[in-house]
C-alpha cells in the first residue's frame, strides 16, 4: 500500500512512492531512448511505445510479485519494466542481440520473462486473453495464491478472444484481472467508432464481473482500483475488468504519420502527463523532496545509458541459434 496507518495516523510510504516514480520514469526514459535509437536506425523492425500510459502498468504492477502473472500486448515495454524485466536485456533484445531477454529472437513485440511472471508481449491483438485465462487456471488448479493480469487495448476489446476469455474467467471464477488500456485509438481508428459501447468496462456486466473506469494518467487512482481488483481476485472472488482511459504520446508504431489526431488533441492530452502530475502532487503535498526525485532521474538516466551501451556492444546471435528452441528437443 502507498499509505499505512499507525496509531490512527495515516502515513505515506515514501519507499513505495519512490518505486512508483522510478518505474514510471524508467519506462518513459526507455521509450524516449528507443524512439531516438529507432530514428537513428539502430533498432531494426518496428516498435510500439508506451509513453503516456506509465501510470497504468506501474499502478497495477505495484500490487504484483514474481508469483503473479501478466499477459501483455504489442505495446509491452512498459509492462515488462513495471514487472521487473531487466532493461539491459530488453534493450539488447530490441537490438536483436544474443544477450537480449529472448536471445534476440523475439524483439519488441515478444519480450517475455516467464520467471518474472511476464508471459510475453504479444503481436496478436487480443492474443493474450486466453493465455491469461490459462495462467489463472493454473493458479486455481494448483491452489496458488497468485493472480494473473491480462493487459489488452481498446482494439483488442473487439476481438472474439477477449470475449471468450472474459466469459471463461467468469464461469470458472479465475483470479484474473482484465485491464483494458483504452488509449482511444486502435491503430488509427478511434474507439468511438470501433466499440459498440463507449465504455469498454460496461462489457463486464455481460460477463457478470465488476467493471470500473479509471483515468490512466493518475497513478494514485489506478493504484487504488488495482489494489481492490487484485485483492478481490486473491480472495477467490473472481475476475474483474478495469478500463484505464488515457493517451499514448507516440503513434501506434514509431514512424506512424499520426494523421488521425490533431495537434490540439495531442496538446490537451499531453497536459495529463502522468509523470508531471505525479511530481506536482508529491511535491505539493510534501510526500517526497525534489532532490529525491531528481536523484531518481539521474539513476534512471544512468540505467538507460548503460542498457544502450550493453545492447550496442553485445554480439548478434550465432547462426546455430536459428534452429534452437523451435522445440525443447529439435526432432
Amino acid at each position: 500500500m502507498i499509505k499505512t496507518e499507525r496509531g490512527g495516523r495515516v502515513e505515506i510510504q515514501r519507499e513505495r512512492l519512490l518505486w512508483i516514480y522510478e518505474r514510471m520514469k524508467l519506462i518513459r526514459s526507455f521509450e524516449d531512448a528507443v524512439a531516438e535509437l529507432f530514428a537513428a536506425g539502430r533498432i531494426p523492425g518496428f516498435v510500439h511505445l508506451y509513453a503516456g500510459e506509465e501510470a497504468i502498468g506501474v499502478g497495477i504492477m505495484a500490487h504484483l510479485g514474481d508469483d503473479d502473472y501478466i499477459t501483455s500486448t504489442h505495446r509491452g515495454h512498459g509492462h515488462c519494466i513495471a514487472k521487473g524485466v531487466s532493461v539491459r536485456e530488453m534493450m539488447a533484445e530490441l537490438f536483436g542481440k544474443a544477450t537480449g531477454s529472448n536471445k534476440g529472437k523475439g524483439g519488441s513485440m515478444h519480450i517475455a520473462d516467464v520467471g518474472k511472471g511476464m508471459l510475453g508481449a504479444n503481436g496478436i491483438v487480443g492474443g493474450g486473453g486466453p493465455l491469461a485465462v490459462g495462467a489463472g487456471l493454473t493458479l486455481k488448479t494448483l491452489g496458488k495464491k497468485g493472480v494473473t493480469v491480462c493487459f489488452f487495448g481498446d482494439g483488442a476489446a473487439e476481438q472474439g478472444t477477449m470475449h471468450e476469455a472474459m466469459n471463461l474467467a467468469s464461469i470458472w471464477k479465475l483470479p484474473v484481472v482484465f485491464v483494458c488500456e483504452n488509449n482511444l485509438f486502435a491503430e488509427s481508428t478511434p474507439w468511438t467508432y470501433h466499440a459498440s459501447v463507449k465504455n469498454i468496462a460496461d462489457r463486464a456486466a455481460a460477463y457478470d464481473m465488476p467493471g470500473v473506469v479509471v483515468p490512466a494518467h493518475d497513478v494514485f487512482a489506478v493504484y487504488e482500483v488495482a489494489n481492490e481488483a487484485v485483492q478481490r481476485a486473491r480472495r477467490g472472488e473472481g475476475p474483474s475488468l478495469i478500463e484505464a482511459r488515457g493517451f499514448r504520446f507516440y503513434g501506434h508504431f514509431q514512424g506512424d504519420p499520426l494523421t488521425y489526431r490533431t495537434p490540439e488533441d495531442e496538446a490537451r492530452w499531453r497536459a495529463h502527463d502522468p509523470l508531471t502530475l505525479f511530481r506536482a502532487r508529491v511535491l505539493d503535498q510534501e510526500f517526497l523532496a525534489e532532490d529525491a526525485l531528481d536523484e531518481v532521474d539521474r539513476q534512471v538516466a544512468t540505467m538507460i545509458a548503460e542498457a544502450t551501451n550493453f545492447a550496442e556492444s553485445s554480439a548478434y546471435p550465432a547462426d546455430a541459434a536459428l534452429l534452437e528452441d523451435v522445440y525443447v528437443s529439435y526432432p
Binding site: 502507498i2 499509505k3 495515516v10 505515506i12 468511438t192 459501447v197 463507449k198 465504455n199 468496462a201 460496461d202 463486464a204 456486466a205 465488476p210 467493471g211 470500473v212 473506469v213 479509471v214 483515468p215 494514485f220 487512482a221 493504484y223 487504488e224 482500483v225 481492490e228 481488483a229 478481490r232 474483474s240 478500463e243 482511459r245 490537451r268 495529463h272 502532487r281 503535498q285 510526500f287
Partner: protein
C-alpha cells in the same frame, strides 16, 4: 427568477457515472452506456412529442448523445453545448455553463450525486431535473425518462409555471481559509486519505467527520447516516455534523450499494439553516457528495455553510398536475 424565454431544453449526460471503484468493493451496478442511451432516447422522444423547439445537448466524448440522436428525424433543432472534451468533470460543468448562457429553460442531467453536484454548481437558478444513472443517488430521482422528458418539455414551452413546479434543494457551501471553494448537494466529508485516489469514498475507516443534509427518503451513502441519527426526531434538523470514531454509538448504514457497514459515530450535532460548521484542521481529503475532490493540509481552515435555497429542482409530479390543470 426571470429566465430567457428560448423554449429550449439542455441535456447533460455524464458518460462516466456509475463506473467507479464501488463496483469492485461492493456489488454496485454497472450503469451501462446502453442504459444511458435508452434513457436519452426516451427523454428525446418525449421532447419531440411535445414539439419542443430546440434541444441543447452535451457532446460527451463517448458519443452517447450522438448515438441516442442517430437514426431518427427529430422535430426539434439539435444544438451542441461547448465542452473542453477532456472526459473529466470539467465537461459537465462547462456544458452546464454553456446551457445557462444559451438561455435554456430547464436542464435534464443524467448521473449520480457526483454528477448532479457539478450541474447544480453551474445551473444558476435554471431548474434542473436529475435522473439517476450513478452509484449513490440521494439527489437524483428514480423516474422513467419518458416522464422526465414530458415534464422538461412543458417547462421549456412555458406550459407550466416554473414557480409552481419547482422547489429548492439545500446546498452545503464549503470555504477554505474563508474563500469559497466548492459546494455539495448531499454531504461534505473530511477523510484521512492523503490522496484523492480513485475519488469515490467507500472505506468508512478513513472517514474523520462529515456534514450531511438530512434526506427526505431512505438513501444510499452518507445520507443514510443522517437519516439513522436524526430521522426519528419529530422535527429533524436539516443537517447533521458527524464525527466518526469510537466512544459513541454504531450505526448500521448502507454506505454504498450492497455495502452495509456498522459505522462508529463518536459525536453528532444538528446543523440549522444558515449555520456554519468548522471542520477540525487535519491532513486529508475533502469529499463532496461521495467523491474525494481535494487534498487539504492541517494549516487550512475548512468551513461548511448550509444554505436552504441551493439547487432549483423540477418536481415531476407537480409538473403533471400543473399540465393537466387548466391555465390560470
Amino acid at each position: 427568477m426571470k429566465l430567457a424565454c428560448d423554449g429550449s431544453v439542455a441535456l447533460i449526460v455524464n458518460p462516466q457515472a456509475g463506473k467507479d471503484v464501488r463496483r469492485l468493493v461492493a456489488p454496485a451496478p454497472i450503469v451501462t452506456d446502453i442504459d444511458k442511451i435508452g434513457i436519452l432516447r426516451r427523454i428525446l422522444a418525449a421532447l419531440d412529442a411535445l414539439a419542443v423547439s430546440r434541444v441543447w445537448v452535451m457532446p460527451d466524448l463517448g458519443g452517447l448523445a450522438e448515438r441516442a440522436l442517430a437514426g431518427r428525424r427529430w422535430r426539434f433543432e439539435v444544438r451542441w453545448l461547448a465542452i473542453p472534451g477532456l472526459a473529466s468533470a470539467d465537461d459537465t460543468q462547462a456544458a452546464t455553463r454553456d446551457a445557462v448562457r444559451q438561455g435554456v429553460r430547464v436542464i435534464v442531467a443524467l448521473g449520480g450525486d457526483g454528477t448532479q453536484r457539478l450541474v447544480a454548481k453551474e445551473a444558476a437558478g435554471v431548474p434542473m431535473l436529475a435522473i439517476s444513472t450513478g452509484t449513490n443517488n440521494a439527489f437524483p430521482v428514480m423516474i422513467d425518462a419518458t416522464l422526465a422528458g414530458m415534464a422538461a418539455g412543458w417547462v421549456a414551452k412555458g406550459q407550466v409555471e416554473v414557480a409552481r413546479v419547482t422547489r429548492f434543494h439545500p446546498r452545503l457551501e464549503v470555504a477554505i481559509d474563508g474563500q469559497a471553494a466548492d459546494s455539495a448537494l448531499v454531504d461534505v466529508a473530511a477523510t484521512r486519505d492523503l490522496v484523492t485516489g480513485s475519488r469515490a469514498i467507500y472505506d468508512w475507516r478513513m472517514w474523520r467527520e462529515a456534514v450531511i443534509l438530512t434526506p427526505q427518503i431512505p438513501v444510499v451513502g452518507l445520507g443514510s447516516l443522517a437519516l439513522a441519527l436524526v430521522g426519528a426526531m419529530a422535527d429533524p434538523p436539516p443537517a447533521v455534523h458527524v464525527r466518526f470514531g469510537d466512544g459513541g454509538r454504531q450505526v448500521l448504514a448502507p454506505i454504498a450499494p450492497g455495502m452495509v457497514a456498522a459505522v462508529p459515530i463518536a459525536e453528532t450535532s444538528p446543523v440549522f439553516w444558515g449555520e456554519t460548521v468548522a471542520l477540525q484542521p487535519a491532513a486529508g481529503c475533502l469529499a463532496f457528495d461521495g467523491e474525494r475532490e481535494q487534498v487539504v493540509s492541517p494549516r487550512q481552515r475548512v468551513t461548511v455553510h448550509e444554505v436552504a435555497e441551493g439547487a432549483r429542482v423540477l418536481d415531476v409530479r407537480r409538473c403533471f398536475q400543473a399540465a393537466s390543470a387548466p391555465p390560470g
